[in-house]
């Protein structure tokens, strides 16, 4: 037994290395492509104020992300588990509460900042460095991690409707509702991932039926209340409507990917970034990759994500601690789900919503949060013996 576990753990630790490799691959490719896509004739770049240019900021974020990965992956993931004696001081619970407070705060005019007509940002100060922070990014990861930890640690209760299922469900609904007010895409992502984690964690599937009417009403209200979202869906369903409508981004994106061909038009040679695709460095970065690097670049990106998913599956197979398993699955799954949602939008297979491509898109707080979660996943790969022993001796 011991040798097998040891082997497992060695293999898993190696997987952690692979994971970091794949993530670094995406990170560097992303930095390169964001830099390429952001190159424009508009502005002369003044290096003394490099933080003002999102493209340069994105490059500067690469070492930051590596640092976060290194630090978090060295902190035992057990710290994320709920301490029953100090329930409210457990990091996951505490951060969950904090996220909810921040999500409420960001909706208050004057506290939150409006970007692209959505209130998603909290300005943390930092003056000219303009540090901003998107609470929904924090809430996304903390929610799925909270559900995973909660579900894994209360396996006996989770199958009971009132004592186990409902508290988790209530938290999820609250978070999804608060995010969905301003950011429908992320809300859908959090909702879907939360439900999946619950199911994997052992919640009886018919308990979730309770959520169906609630989700239906919420979707209706959230989508219908906002003409932009409604238009995007209509535009997706009637794909032949005029380019001026909500389908504009998707059409431009498809055109860009298609014109890349198999090997792309060459790095920096793409034309779609000349303002034709407004979100070229953020949500639609994959379109620029498709145009400039062609099918080869697309395959590389999709392959790296598949690599991350395969790594995650292997890590949780080799992890004995149920909490570690579920936490790892939640993190890896969320990364994969977010990537899939983004790619479906960019290739025109799903209606447009604002979701970034993990590790690739420009954007600071989301990148750091994702790196943090990935760090936890790497740590799970490294620490599984220790964790499994601990969990098994847990009273």
């Amino acid at each position: 037994m011991a040798t097998k576990e040891l082997k497992n753990s060695e293999g898993a630790a190696e997987l952690g290395g692979w994971l970091i490799l794949f993530i670094s691959g995406l990170l560097c490719l992303g930095a390169l492509m964001v830099f390429s896509a952001g190159a424009s004739l508009d502005q002369q770049i003044d290096l003394k104020h490099f933080w003002r240019y999102s493209t340069l900021r994105r490059v500067a974020f690469v070492p930051v992300v590596w640092l976060v990965l290194a630090v978090v992956s060295r902190c035992g993931y057990r710290r994320w588990l709920i301490n029953e004696r100090q329930f409210w001081l457990s990091p996951v619970v505490f951060l969950m509460g904090l996220s909810i407070v921040l999500l409420v705060l960001v909706l208050i005019p004057g506290v939150g900042t409006e970007v692209n007509s959505s209130m998603r940002w909290l300005v943390l100060g930092g003056g000219r460095y303009g540090l901003r922070f998107q609470p929904s990014e924090l809430a996304k990861w903390i929610t799925v991690m909270f559900i995973a930890v909660y579900g894994a640690q209360r396996q006996d209760k989770i199958r009971e409707f009132w004592r186990g299922f409902m508290p988790v469900c209530a938290v999820l609904m609250l978070v999804v509702g608060l995010i969905g007010k301003e950011d429908f895409g992320t809300a859908v992502l959090v909702g879907a991932c939360g439900v999946m984690v619950m199911l994997v964690g052992g919640v009886r599937w018919w308990h979730l039926l309770v959520l169906v009417p609630v989700a239906a009403v919420a979707c209706y209200v959230l989508v219908y209340s906002d003409p932009t979202r409604w238009n995007r869906i209509i535009a997706f369903l009637e794909s032949d409507s005029q380019a001026q409508s909500g389908a504009y981004q998707a059409r431009q994106s498809i055109m860009a990917i298609g014109s890349g061909g198999l090997w792309g038009v060459g790095l920096g040679q793409g034309k779609i970034k000349l303002g034709w695709l407004p979100e070229d460095t953020t949500d639609f970065i994959f379109a620029v990759i498709g145009e400039e690097l062609g099918f080869a670049g697309c395959a590389l990106v999709v392959g790296l994500f598949i690599g991350i998913i395969v790594c995650t599956v292997l890590i949780i197979r080799r992890t004995n601690n149920p909490a570690g398993k579920l936490l790892g699955a939640a993190i890896g799954g969320t990364i994969g789900a977010q990537a899939l949602m983004n790619l479906l939008v960019v290739t025109g297979l799903a209606p447009t919503k604002g979701i970034a491509l993990p590790f690739v898109s420009a954007g600071g707080s989301g990148l750091v949060m994702t790196a943090m979660a990935a760090g936890v996943l790497v740590n799970i790969a490294r620490n599984n013996i220790d964790a499994s022993v601990k969990s098994s001796v847990r009273p």
Binding site: M196, V200, A256, L274
Partner: protein, 606 residues
């Protein structure tokens, strides 16, 4: 146990979850393959179409010059002010743009604001075409958002209405619609070049998509028209039309040997650059389009045909009776005022006897006479190099079975054969265009050859090199219609008398320096198939000098006002104008004055 129980279900869900992710990602990849392998060309085409910015390099339209090189039409680059309304975001900006622009350009601010409002989604709106240089500078200095100043070619006619009907006009984009502008549009247009650029979303160029193709300027058209003669003609025509309060008038001046049109004018006329605001009827080149019954001006055709056919000689006497000539099959033919009795055939022309020519035509017979009329070019287009929709009435046409129906076949079927024959002899029941009539007259004047009228000498490029020389076409042009001898005798014995002799109908056209020959006509106007009393077309067709004519002139005045009491006959109305035109143009052309011609005139006076 509970734990394994839980994880059993959870593991299944886990597998589902991972499979969905993997299948989804592979789906994305296959979508990429589909787009990048199968749709790559279509996508690239769409992208190129979207990102292509085409800057046309407009070619300068060619000049139109008169025969000595005076500029009659020229294209000049002028600033044009336009707006991209989509760049003007709010109402305040729109109001300001409208007010500032209308102040400078002298437009109505409310109108401008309204159209800005209406077209706020559009990317282009014309504000004012062809503004002055100063206005353009002022507009530029305002620096208003979305306001553009481009340069476009404006067609200008430096001599205003001079030769308007010959020149024709263009639309604002420089496409020829009438006259020379239309006839030689392909030469004048030139070829516009282009620059194809890559652009970003804000329409700014970011690179090129192909080599720059420079445009070629249009060729220049050199007319046969002489501006000096044309100006004189227009002045005289205007005077005569106004003096006689006539409806309209037409003058053509032609070189009888080459068919070159030296002047062509209609009154009322127009300024080509303002053709858009003119009445359509004014724009019509009546000299080429409007058929009319020529009346007595047709008599030289009848008489010369008879002499050519040896039915008569000019000296032969013919009984023109002392009362109306009436008979079965042709009705009653009166004279205009006096009856002439027994006179020589030449006097039939000089004194314009209807009965005389009627008798002559009866002797010739329809077959021969109508054949000669066709030979003189009637019933067909003259082939002048201008848009020429008219060919007189009746005209050669194609029957139902595709066979050609000639003028003479149609004339034979008109009314009674005998009636038509005698009426055609003095220019009734047949309608001709002014250019047809003058061409036939030139045939008599030049010794019997039918020339093709020409309005253009040739095409030259900007360096002055000749691209096409149309003059050569006319070198040996002209089928022989009359023998040299017949034509000369017609001019010298008959047509000079019309002017020179005291009893001639056009004594008012007598010139001191040169011998004028010609024929007057006072035709009745036909409306709804009937002759209208007191409505006439008074014309005089003439040439000079008789020995070797330099020019032939047709002056045609439609419906001079009888009530003025100034007369209405061709001799009274048109002949003085012809005199002035001949006097001026012969002097201008430096034509030697007569020496021995006096003798000839004296002879014809006998």
């Amino acid at each position: 146990m509970k734990l394994t129980d839980n994880s059993w279900q959870g593991r299944v869900w886990g597998y589902v979850f991972w499979s969905v992710l993997l299948v989804g990602l592979l789906g994305v990849l296959s979508r990429c393959w589909y787009l990048q392998y199968y749709e790559v060309d279509q996508c690239r085409r769409r992208a190129e179409r979207q990102q292509r910015k085409l800057i046309p390099l407009s070619a300068k339209r060619g000049l139109i010059l008169d025969r000595t090189g005076r500029v009659l039409a020229i294209s000049v680059k002028k600033p044009t002010v336009s707006v991209d309304p989509s760049l003007i975001k709010d109402k305040q900006e729109r109001i300001e743009t409208a007010i500032r622009l209308s102040e400078i350009l002298g437009l109505d601010a409310d109108n401008l604001y309204e159209s800005l409002q209406k077209q706020s989604q559009k990317r282009y709106m014309l504000v004012k075409r062809f503004v002055s240089q100063e206005q353009a500078e002022q507009v530029k200095s305002l620096g208003l958002k979305g306001v553009m100043v481009n340069w476009e070619y404006q067609r200008q006619y430096p001599m205003n209405e001079l030769a308007a009907h010959v020149l024709g006009f263009t639309n604002v984009f420089g496409k020829g619609l009438e006259g020379i502008e239309r006839q030689y549009d392909e030469y004048l247009l030139g070829e516009s070049g282009k620059i194809v650029l890559k652009k970003d979303v804000r329409n700014r160029p970011v690179g090129s998509l192909g080599p720059c193709v420079p445009g070629t300027d249009g060729r220049n058209v050199v007319l046969c028209i002489d501006a000096a003669i044309q100006a004189c003609v227009e002045e005289e025509l205007k005077k005569v039309v106004e003096k006689f309060n006539a409806k309209s008038g037409t003058v053509i001046v032609m070189d009888p040997y080459t068919g070159e049109v030296l002047a062509l004018a209609n009154h009322p006329t127009f300024i080509p650059s303002q053709a858009g605001q003119c009445d359509k009827a004014v724009l019509r080149n009546r000299a080429l389009t409007d058929p009319y019954e020529p009346g007595s001006t047709f008599k030289p055709i009848t008489v010369s045909s008879a002499i050519e056919g040896k039915y008569f000689t000019l000296d032969q006497k013919i009984d023109c009776l002392t009362g109306p000539y009436a008979g079965k099959g042709f009705g009653r033919i009166p004279e205009y005022k006096h009856y002439f009795g027994l006179i020589p055939v030449s006097d039939v022309i000089v004194r314009s006897s209807n009965i005389g020519v009627a008798k002559i035509s009866q002797k010739m017979g329809a077959d021969y006479f109508y054949g000669m009329i066709e030979k003189f070019g009637f019933g067909k287009k003259t082939g002048i190099d201008l848009p020429e929709p008219g060919a007189g009435l009746p005209r050669e046409k194609t029957g139902k079975n595709g066979e050609k129906i000639t003028l003479s076949q149609q004339l034979k079927k008109r009314y009674g054969p005998g009636y038509t024959l005698t009426r055609v002899a003095y220019g009734q029941t047949i309608a001709v265009t002014p250019i047809q009539l003058l061409r036939a007259f030139c045939c008599i004047a030049n010794g019997g050859r039918l020339v093709r009228p020409r309005i253009t000498r040739g095409i030259i490029d900007n360096k002055g090199d000749v691209i096409e020389d149309f003059g050569r076409d006319n070198q040996d042009a002209g089928k022989r219609v009359l023998s040299e001898k017949v034509a000369r005798s017609m001019v010298e014995k008959a047509l000079t008398g019309v002017v020179a002799r005291q009893g001639g109908t056009a004594h008012k056209a007598h010139l001191e320096g040169w011998t004028v020959f010609g024929k007057t006509g006072t035709a009745q106007v036909v409306e709804n198939g009937r002759y209208v009393p007191r409505k006439h077309i008074s014309s005089f067709i003439a040439g000079a000098p008789a020995k070797k004519p330099r020019v032939c002139v047709l002056v045609l005045v439609r419906e001079p006002d009888h009530s003025l009491g100034l007369g209405y006959t061709g001799g009274m109305v048109a002949a003085p104008a012809v005199k002035k035109i001949l006097q001026h143009s012969l002097a201008y052309l430096d034509t030697p004055k007569r020496l021995r011609e006096d003798k000839m005139v004296a002879k014809s006076r006998e």
